[in-house]
Symmetry: C2
Subunit: 426 residues, 2 copies
């Protein structure tokens, strides 16, 4: 609605101010029909269809090729991280944003190394202290560094599991990093039971350090509690993702609600004046109706979000000038799961966000059946405010036909449809 009004005002201004004699102008190349060549006047034509109006009003450019918030995504295996030959006993997933400190890039991530692969959330009641239910059960937070973002060296544990009864004694996972006044803060999910026992329920805890290499000091207790009974986030605050904006910490998170029949995954915002909190919930929560993980980054005067996997607006990039009310800015394909970009201005309280060109993500289906584990990979893109790299700007994505056929019908569904076809009326 806001966009529409702004557009009307803008159109009216152009008509009245820039072209006071438009009606009397004789423009021989202008025809009644939509023109072959688009000019500055084209958005002011009468009779534009709603789709073409959106082209001019709702996107940063009328072509994705010129849209700074459109990109394709390219993927590269990381060098330097092994996975016990893929036997399912070693997993890395849910990386943090990448930050650069001195000459080194840093990322933190969920690392599980267990004697056996996960036995499944449905079997959580059978888990002992050495048997993981899910891929993120019995995990710790480790970190790795890199000179170039392609080759990474694992440095060791950052946040181990805590002693009982503290939150995080069962597992700590899904970290993200904040840098605030020269100190480093890791926010992460802190489990007190095997994931799957009642759900995937946990609050957010935090550890801090003077150096990205630690040592990390636990903050006692939950830093962000789950919501009150009856609230959308009453059971889970997942995927904490902190940024700095307007002198405050803006922390986005995910929660799943509306169970059992109509599961809805959405993302909310809490803000705080200091890393220890208190974190205040945004009254407009949830702020993103879609997206399985929160991936946001400052962009120009506002905030952009990569929205993946869940919801009507999965596979979109969205933009919110006020960091709260998002509009769809583009549609994307082959999206990175659990994307964690290198956000150069995540903590600078920028008013002119640069955007992102690469990051890390994970693939949770790296292992063979029964040997499930995840791997961390790199993605590259061009979602930059000052650079438009045509290498990443084609919306055409064409896989080998075998990729489509591997995404085929089950035998049962195929038989069902073949039979139905033969009884369909003309």
């Amino acid at each position: 609605m806001k966009n529409f009004i702004l557009t009307c005002v803008a159109c009216a201004s152009i008509l009245v101010i820039a072209h006071p004699c438009k009606a009397q102008m004789d423009v021989p190349t202008q025809t009644e029909a939509f023109p072959y060549t688009v000019t500055e006047d084209t958005p002011n034509r009468p009779n534009l269809s709603r789709a073409v109006q959106r082209s001019f009003n709702d996107y940063m450019a009328y072509r994705p090729e010129d849209n700074p918030l459109f990109s394709s995504f390219k993927y590269t295996k990381l060098e330097g991280l092994d996975y016990n030959n893929g036997d399912g006993t070693l997993s890395r997933r849910d990386p943090s944003k990448v930050i650069k400190v001195g000459d080194k890039y840093y990322m933190w991530y969920t690392r599980r190394e267990t004697k056996v692969p996960p036995i499944g959330a449905a079997n959580a009641a059978k888990c002992d202290d050495e048997t993981p239910s899910t891929d993120w059960d019995l995990a710790e937070i480790w970190y790795a560094t890199s000179d170039d973002g392609f080759t990474w060296e694992e440095q060791g544990v950052a946040v181990p599991r805590r002693e009982k009864p503290y939150a995080g004694h069962r597992s700590v996972s899904t970290p993200d990093i904040l840098v605030w006044k020269g100190r480093y803060y890791l926010y992460y999910q802190a489990f007190t039971e095997p994931s799957g026992l009642k759900g995937d329920y946990c609050p957010v805890s935090m550890s801090s350090a003077d150096s990205p290499d630690g040592p990390w000091v636990h903050t006692n207790g939950e830093v962000i509690a789950t919501g009150k009974e009856g609230e959308w986030d009453q059971f889970a605050v997942h995927d904490p993702y902190p940024l700095v904006h307007n002198g405050k910490i803006y922390l986005y998170y995910k929660s799943a609600f509306n169970r059992p029949d109509k599961l809805w995954v959405a993302n909310g915002l809490v803000t705080a004046d200091s890393p220890e909190g208190p974190f205040v919930r945004c009254p407009q929560n949830p702020v993103l109706s879609s997206g399985h993980e929160v991936v946001t980054f400052p962009f120009r005067e506002g905030l952009a979000a990569i929205v993946t996997n869940d919801g009507n607006e999965h596979s979109t990039i969205q933009y919110a000038e006020d960091w709260i009310n998002f509009d769809v800015a583009s549609v994307i394909s082959l999206t990175p799961a659990a994307a964690a970009p290198y956000v150069v201005d995540a903590f600078t309280d920028t008013k002119n966000g640069e955007g992102i060109s690469w990051g890390v993500c994970h693939f949770i289906n790296a292992g063979k059946p029964g040997k499930g584990h995840s791997i961390i990979a790199r993605f590259d893109c061009s979602l930059q405010s000052a650079v438009n790299d045509p290498y990443f700007k084609s919306p055409h994505l064409r896989f080998d036909p075998s990729v489509y056929f591997s995404n085929g019908l089950s035998k049962d569904k195929k038989n069902q449809r073949a039979q139905a076809a033969q009884t369909t009326k003309e």
Copy 2:
């Protein structure tokens, strides 16, 4: 805008009529925050973020799982069609809508069988009468039939190339079918020169028959000419796609314009009272700002479109109650190229379109380099007004990691980014 106003009216009505005492109601489970369980009242809450407002106002359901215009797409190889062992001399592509006549499903398509594979649009000037420039040069329109939609039997040629100097003497391609008052009409692109010589320029011709098995009678001349000089469709009317609506023929088509720098591909509409025309251009053209091929089908009281490949709104399904002004209804992934659904009510002038559950499409990258050709395949989906098949309703699409890595950076781009990474400031 219309949606917004309708929504406001609807919301106001609910507030005033259905819940006259809402402000005084004491609902113990309602909290200040967004609720865990969504109810009929939830869309009326204050403080909804713009994304959540869209969930309730802009989609047919707030979850894609319940959205009749959301679907995943599954792919199956067709049985019964061979391709000269993939040597590039035989190609099938750009199928028509599928129709059922009696017990048989019919499809028409572009078929090229040439002594050599295409030598490329850039080499069009070197082409003789036996050497194709593009995959759709020197083509004819053939057809195949099927009992179940999975196994097809090629029946032979429907529309051969014409004699000189008639449009279509060089190639006829990209057919679609209309059934009108018991007679069958094929619309297709009619080339008089090798595609690529000046562009991919052609008008639309038409042939008709009393039976889907022919014989097909040429209509002399162009049935839909290209636009006037300076108009968006001055060079091409591609991918004709006829339906019947409001007692008229509604024919959607594609054109590319805004060359050379800012190529834009969009889709328009022409209507006619009879298959021979005259076809009148819709004043709101282009009606779809995105999509490389036109794929539309009656849905409930309006028209739905599958939008692929090109434009800001590639990879969406859209809906237009008036068959002209489309809104985005869902975001889709792994979209079918040149999709041609089985549209049971394409020509019944329905006021309650059933939607689609399968169709055919093509893959243009089926051949090895130097042996380029296309294949026709089947897609399945659930875009049905009265059926919600959960098999097709998950927005999660997860490929094997190898698919992502095969979509990786070029060596040059990787080196460029690795070097840039090492000079990036902290």
